[in-house]
């Protein structure tokens, strides 16, 4: 072979390798895009750019995160690596030392929550404390896990034992427009949410002629959201809390459709969490920053409750309307409320057995 031909062969070999590599990459990108659609293509691109980024703060997520398995099924070593990776990324991204706990469930505990609607004044302190504690998206979009419903007084009866009396009667429980009793045409043995408003904007609360009912995840004992999740990304932990592995969630929103309480929130876009407002004490299944395309909801502040602390909404309530405790302990606040107060649950007809109880003090 002449020198000239050798040179050409060298150059051609180089060209062929380059071309083959290029085709490989194009094929891979095309296949990924076709399988996952436009959102997937964008996500794949962001994952690739994240890996290539030198500064972890620039990375939305890494290829390793994309490929990691369900957290519950990981080995201890994999869990440790995963936590280290997240802590490093969040610390760089938000410019503050961030911890991601994976504290295990408490032994012999089944959490329950009780809320006194006669005390609630609709101030939304719980909502704001929840947003702050759980690193929810702040502005545009704003995500809130608790929705406070304003309900007209008079839609509320505190007595179920006088349902057969036929006509409404005044109640001994005070001026709530309370009706006791009723008839076949006008059942008043409880609460009617007719005319509910969740986006009230009153200058002062409580408003005359209204009472308030905060609604959040009811932590069902038989949760329909868990049943419908096609990938088991959402599950019920031994403490009775329904959790989500954000990295395993595929964003299909089946759980949102299945939830009878509308308690789940989907990240349609990238959450907007300013660094200065970020709570650096997080839990893997709880308040760690979420990404676009995943579901989120109340976890009874798992990052706090697994350390024997109360949820943030309870601590923020200025009137002590919220009670939290262990349903397995007969001496707990919640069990005592169940034993002595007038209690109702939301949508009990669905047999979801919510562990969030409303009561009248």
């Amino acid at each position: 072979m002449s020198e000239e031909r050798k040179e050409i062969a060298k150059v051609t070999e180089g060209v062929q390798e380059t071309r083959r590599d290029l085709l490989k990459y194009v094929g891979l990108a095309g296949a990924t895009a076709l399988m996952a659609g436009p959102a997937g293509a964008e996500a794949a691109a962001s994952a690739v750019s994240a890996t290539a980024a030198i500064n972890p703060a620039d990375a939305d997520s890494t290829i390793t995160e994309w490929l990691q398995g369900h957290y519950v099924l990981m080995s201890d070593e994999e869990k440790k690596k995963c936590i280290d990776r997240l802590e490093k990324r969040y610390s760089a991204q938000y410019g503050k030392k961030t911890t991601v706990s994976d504290a295990p469930p408490l032994e012999g505990v089944l959490f329950g929550y009780a809320l006194d609607i006669a005390k609630c004044i609709g101030c939304r302190s719980c909502v704001h404390a929840c947003v702050k504690e759980n690193n929810q998206s702040r502005h545009d979009p704003e995500i809130q896990w608790i929705q406070v419903m304003k309900i007209e007084k008079g839609n509320f009866s505190f007595s179920a034992d006088k349902l057969d009396e036929g006509y409404p009667q005044p109640s001994k429980f005070g001026d709530h427009g309370v009706q006791v009793g009723g008839n076949a045409y006008s059942p008043v043995g409880g609460l009617s949410t007719h005319g509910t408003q969740s986006y009230y904007d009153a200058e002062t609360v409580p408003e005359k002629d209204f009472f308030y009912m905060p609604v959040q995840c009811q932590q069902c004992e038989k949760p329909p959201c868990v049943k419908v999740c096609p990938v088991r990304a959402t599950f019920r932990d031994p403490n009775g809390i329904v959790l989500i592995d954000y990295n395993w969630c595929i964003g299909c929103r089946m759980c949102q459709l299945a939830c009878p309480y509308g308690a789940r929130r989907f990240n349609w876009g990238k959450p907007n969490l300013p660094s200065e407002e970020m709570n650096p004490k997080t839990h893997y299944f709880g308040n760690r920053p979420r990404m676009r395309g995943v579901m989120e909801k109340c976890t009874f502040c798992i990052q706090r409750t697994r350390e024997n602390r109360n949820p943030a909404c309870l601590e923020a309530c200025p009137v002590g309307a919220r009670k939290f405790g262990n349903l397995l302990d007969p001496e707990s606040d919640v069990r005592k409320i169940l034993a002595t107060k007038k209690v109702f649950r939301l949508k009990e007809e669905f047999n979801t057995f919510p562990k969030f109880f409303y009561y009248v003090g």
Binding site: L34, T193, S198, G262, F266, R345
Partner: protein, 81 residues
């Protein structure tokens, strides 16, 4: 013509065309604008208000409370087992 179709050049032409079509499809696919995203968040909130309204809730009797608690606790122990 047959020769050209089987040649490397022919293959590359087809490959380039396929990539072009794929890229065009991806680029022209509808993307979520900021305003439509905001509408979706608002819609999620309204959905909750909708599902929670027009409901009647009845206070539980002592018997019902006991049954409920038993069911919750038995289900809990069943799940743990």
């Amino acid at each position: 013509m047959t020769n050209e179709d089987n040649s490397r050049r022919g293959f590359l032409k087809k490959a380039a065309a396929a990539v072009g079509v794929t890229a065009k499809t991806l680029i022209s696919a509808p993307s979520d604008s900021v305003s439509s995203e905001s509408a979706k968040y608002v819609n999620d909130g309204h959905l909750q208000q909708k599902v929670m309204s027009q409901k009647q809730y009845v206070l539980m009797t002592d018997n019902e409370k006991e049954q409920m608690l038993n069911e919750i606790l038995s289900n809990h122990y069943k799940e743990l087992a």
